[in-house]
């Protein structure tokens, strides 16, 4: 329990806040805007140097571009939200402000924030804030999920998000000749942004095969290829924007004659010091590579994404439960208006399920209105319309998720010498042999944790953010696992700190306020084997 007196320590500025929004992507911006319209006072904290999130990641102020909107969809929506919030004395937008811990406090949660001057990420001596929100809206988004393959740790192999981020925020092509691979509609904007940088996109390889795509995208689809996206997206008014956006990507790929191949995946990246060639193969319906179908493509970059995984740390630390099953499994569990299982805590956007920016905007607005309403600022009549839009967008997102969800056969690409945990350089072979040596039916659940301690997989600086799912899968736990195992997934999502903090910065805090809550701490044995 943190008492107000404990908070007044060296450097920590303590403030009571009405609605605190964490994350300045589409969901967080919409939440802040909606809560303001209801009349609540809002503080929005964004870890990056500017708001916009992943979708509207943009050039920094020191690098102006006359036609930046060309690189984005819905740029005017973003510009409007940013302008409204910036000009509103009832809303304070803090950038470079990362939430690194959430603790239970006397009556309210205590949200700890480190504020970094613009551009100076990871500099020591950052400013501490301790915010006590009456209502908290978590809109921390997601990051790429990339399934490992031999060579995925070579320089030049990046996530789809990285290719996108460098194209949008630095006008940098990650390579001249790029292969885009993985699964999901996100591969299309990645390829299209790369084309906009003048890079050659050699091909887009989608792991899902025609049968999986057809089941997910619906009976409208016939045949494979990029045409599936255009064909599958007719009708529903709410989806018109999404339809236009995807059709635009398809047109860009078609114009540049970029082949879009379904049932195709990367089985290896090779090169001397950086990627020089990419080995692609046909995948069967389970995503296992079909022997004999390998092709070698000379490339200097490879952008791979198999979906997204939520940034759960802040939500978990605030006590919100994660859905265990169903379409939203692994994401923060919310009701229609974004309420989590924790009182006073709402969540919106991709941290609650992958739905794209349109869904994030709608969910953000709903959560912002709900949070304000709980504090005595009733929402207007717009809620019903937002709920209707949310239902359509969610149903669409669930279909897409099914169309591109990893199938267990992908594990066949993970050879024994594949590095699975990049930070600690733990190979699949090491994981498998340690798992075999310690296997016993009785200790299975504890076994998975001790395996991580023995191998250190997932205990490096990324704390399993990148490899957690894959480590679990290789060990036969969680999803998407191999077949027939019942070991539960290891809780690789519970991390003591949401962002890295230097000891010197912790030392600036009085001892009683270093993170000690059960929700945010791990057994020390996990930290120091």
């Amino acid at each position: 329990m943190v008492e107000p007196a404990d908070l007044a320590g060296a450097g920590a500025e303590v403030r009571d806040v009405e609605v605190l929004v964490v994350g300045g992507g589409p969901a967080g911006l919409a939440a802040a805007d909606a809560a303001r319209r209801s009349g609540a006072r809002v503080v929005l904290v964004e870890g990056g140097d500017d708001v916009g999130g992943q979708y509207w990641r943009h050039l920094p102020a020191e690098r102006p571009a006359a036609a930046e909107a060309q690189l984005h969809h819905g740029w005017s929506t973003f510009a409007g939200l940013r302008r409204t919030l910036a000009g509103d004395p009832g809303c304070e937008v803090l950038t470079g402000a990362s939430v690194w811990a959430v603790e239970p406090g006397a009556g309210a949660l205590v949200v700890r924030v480190l504020v970094t001057p613009s551009g100076q990420a990871d500099a020591p001596g950052r400013r501490h804030l301790a915010l006590r929100p009456a209502a908290l809206v978590v809109a921390t988004g997601a990051h790429d999920l990339t399934l490992p393959f031999p060579g995925w740790d070579l320089p030049g192999v990046v996530t789809g998000g990285a290719a996108q981020a460098f194209a949008k925020s630095e006008r940098l092509a990650v390579g001249e000749r790029v292969v885009v691979a993985g699964a999901g509609p996100f591969l299309l904007p990645v390829a299209s942004s790369l084309l906009d940088t003048g890079a050659r996109v050699l091909e887009v390889a989608e792991a899902a095969g025609p049968a999986q795509l057809t089941r997910g995208w619906g009976p409208l689809l016939t045949g494979g290829g990029a045409g599936v996206f255009a064909a599958g997206l007719s009708g529903v008014g709410v989806l018109a924007g999404k339809t236009r956006e995807l059709a635009g990507y398809v047109a860009a790929l078609t114009a540049a004659r970029v082949p879009y191949r379904t049932a195709t995946g990367v089985v290896a990246a090779r090169g001397d010091g950086r990627v020089e060639e990419v080995v692609l193969a046909r995948l069967d319906a389970t995503w296992a590579p079909v022997p004999g179908t390998e092709r070698v493509v000379a490339a200097d970059a490879l952008a791979v994404s198999h979906g997204f995984t939520p940034r759960l740390e802040v939500a978990l630390a605030a006590g919100a439960a994660v859905a265990g099953s169903g379409a939203g499994a692994g994401f923060v569990a919310v009701d229609d208006r974004g309420a989590t299982s924790a009182p006073g805590v709402w969540a919106a956007g991709e941290v609650t399920g992958i739905g794209g920016a349109d869904a994030a905007l709608v969910e953000g607005a709903l959560a912002g209105l709900a949070a304000a309403e709980a504090l005595g600022h009733p929402a207007g009549p717009e809620v019903d319309g937002l709920l209707r839009r949310r239902r359509v967008l969610r149903a669409f997102a669930d279909r897409l998720a099914a169309a591109h969800a990893p199938r267990p056969g992908w594990l066949a690409q993970v050879t024994d010498d594949t590095v699975v945990c990049r930070c600690e350089e733990v190979t699949a072979g090491r994981l498998r042999s340690v798992a075999q040596a310690t296997a016993s039916a009785a200790d299975a659940p504890a076994g998975s944790r001790s395996l991580r301690l023995t191998t250190r997989a997932g205990l490096g600086p990324c704390q399993g953010r990148v490899c957690g799912h894959a480590v679990d899968a290789v060990l036969g736990c969680g999803l998407p696992a191999s077949t027939g195992t019942t070991r539960p997934p290891v809780s690789h999502q519970r991390r003591p700190l949401a962002v890295p903090v230097r000891l010197g910065e912790l030392a600036d805090l009085p001892p009683a306020t270093t993170p000690t809550s059960p929700a945010t701490s791990q057994p020390t044995s996990e930290e120091t084997p």
């Binding site: 990871d122 940098l172 950086r274």
Partner: protein, 120 residues
Amino acid sequence: MSARRVDPARDVARTETAEPVTITVDGEPVTGVRGQSIAGVVMAAGRSASTGGALRRTAGAGAPRGVFCGIGVCFDCLVTVDGVRDVRACQRRAVEGAVVTTQGEPLPARVERVEGERRG
């Protein structure tokens, strides 16, 4: 060939002419443009830089690593900037004269633990 900045003359975004920024990477000057991250500057220098576009070497296999996630979550791009270790190169803006050194020792299990060891 490797990563490269978009030619401003052909950029659909019509970026204005950007000011050059020079940093040193392991003692070697590398030039990018203002507003870029350290990772972006190093990537665009590519093979011409002595690091070959990599940002660090791993402790175990001594394998080169570069940018992976690009958004600050993977920690594969940690470098030392002006004497401060474990800075995410993809998140840190390149400023004129910044002294970047690549790291090749074991990564910290958690940033604050290594800091503690150094202090202790």
